[in-house]
Amino acid sequence: MKERGDIMKINQEMSVLPKSNEYDFYFGPCHPGSGNFGVKLKVKGEKIISALSDPGYLHRGFEKLMEYRLPLQNAMLSDRICVLESLAWNLVHAEAMEELMDLKIPERAKYIRVIMVELSRIQSHLIWWGVLSAGIGFDTGFKIAFGYRDYILDLFADITGGRVYPAGYICPGGLRRDFPMEIEEKIEKVLDKIHEAAKFIETGNPTFLARTKGIGVLKLENAISLGATGPVLRASGLKNDIRKDDPYEVYNRFDFEIPVREEGDIYSRYMIGLEEIKESVKIVKQALEDLPKGEVILPKFKKPKLNMKIKEGEVYVHNEIARGEGGMHITSNGGVRPYRVKVRGPSFSHMIPVLEYLLQGAEIADVPAIYWSLNVCPADLDR
């Protein structure tokens, strides 16, 4: 036990120690709000002078692992690229393989894929809102978002068997299994719940607005030159969406809008997320209405042969996933396994150049807010 006098002495010594108010400051990888990712900050007082991203804590080497495995095994690996939207990565991988193998998949499978991926986008955007709220100390938002997200996870469990990881549900050749009985009504009910959640998100909490408006501004020219895509780029004022610009599956048959905002601050990114949830609900409703009957997988993939050759060549497939442009560049030399797989995760640009740029000159208290407003996922950066 130290005596009171000792503590006073230590305090006096400490008060003479700091001569300068410049110091290094680490955000992550052990910060509860950072995920498996760190940022090294140089700070003067409360202001950040420079930031250096420090990724790699979640690097699992998927690109290399995929070279050693068959396409149907890789479908299972592709879920794990991003925890928060595994179905979207499933689809990117399946599409790339189908383009390499020249497969035309059944219509019903295409519609179900769109429904699943849009539901996945909604739950991912709910997480986005939740963690952004937590990042600025608005814990109620976090709980509401994760509560409503669970309705969608229950749907995933019914359809794919897994709440978070679908275990290659969307696989090359179609889908592992068809919708279970009466799932359409359940989806409709969940969409009503999402409508309810959107009302919560719309509330203009004055503290929330004060913490998000005019902070973390990313101008359009910087957004483009730093490689931003998806909602981050749309919040800075460029109308673009791969679902419309380079359509895949059956997106060209649905009627939906691309939300765009000019400001480029945290608030505008947050509003883009909210509007995209509404658009996704619209797409799911249309897809459910037009859902055709029939098979969901090509006959030869029902019991796939292990020595199925992949045609020689290379393709690049990219999709509009919740975070931006998610792509895969797959090369084959005619063997049964892909020769090389390159995964392009949207967070790669958002968490290295964009984040480093936005943190310069920001306040320490705004670091979590700026970080989460970019809709980041350390898993798809590290792969």
Binding site: G61, G227, R344, P353
Partner: protein
């Protein structure tokens, strides 16, 4: 969906006029062009002027039998909605290529860092080549085809004397 590749053909014609070079239209929204690595910066500057302002990624594959690396720059044009893949071959023994930071800035910088780390390619003009993912990595660049990670893990992390880990040494 039938497409006559109108936009893609216009771009190819412009390329032919500028460089006298032929590209391939793989499908709608996809053009593939292979060039010599010495021409890279001229192409990069011209393509950016023509609207390919978004650098999606830089992807490298290791063709060990040819003793070459194939580097692919994935470029997207928001104006024409076309993805152009610019590929070049690099000697595997002495992998050097010009950096495209003067054209695509900081975004290119981090993509180059990744490929320097995983394949050991030197990007001439990129002064900030420091590892992104690995920490204190002593082995060869890990994504090369001649790097066998299974062997590496076995030698580095398992003990043959340990009864429970002996199984990893039996093939």
């Amino acid at each position: 969906m039938t497409s006559d590749f109108k936009g893609e053909k216009i771009i190819l014609e412009k390329i032919k006029r500028e460089f006298g070079h032929k590209g391939i239209i793989q499908r709608a929204h996809r053009i593939w062009i292979s060039i010599d690595k010495e021409e890279l910066l001229d192409w990069a500057k011209w393509l950016k002027q023509e609207g390919f302002i978004h650098l999606s990624a830089i992807s490298v594959s290791d063709w060990i039998e040819e003793r070459k690396y194939k580097i692919a720059y994935l470029l997207w044009s928001f104006k024409d909605n076309v993805l152009l893949v610019l590929t070049a071959k690099i000697d595997r023994e002495n992998p050097v290529v010009d950096s495209i930071i003067p054209v695509w800035g900081n975004n290119a910088q981090s993509h180059e860092r990744e490929n320097w780390e995983f394949f050991g390619i030197n990007f001439k003009g990129n002064s900030n080549l420091i590892p992104l993912f690995t920490e204190n990595w002593q082995g060869p660049p890990p994504f090369r085809k001649d790097f066998n990670w299974q062997e590496y893990v076995r030698d580095k992390y398992y003990n043959k004397e340990n009864e429970r880990e002996r199984g990893y040494y039996e093939d």
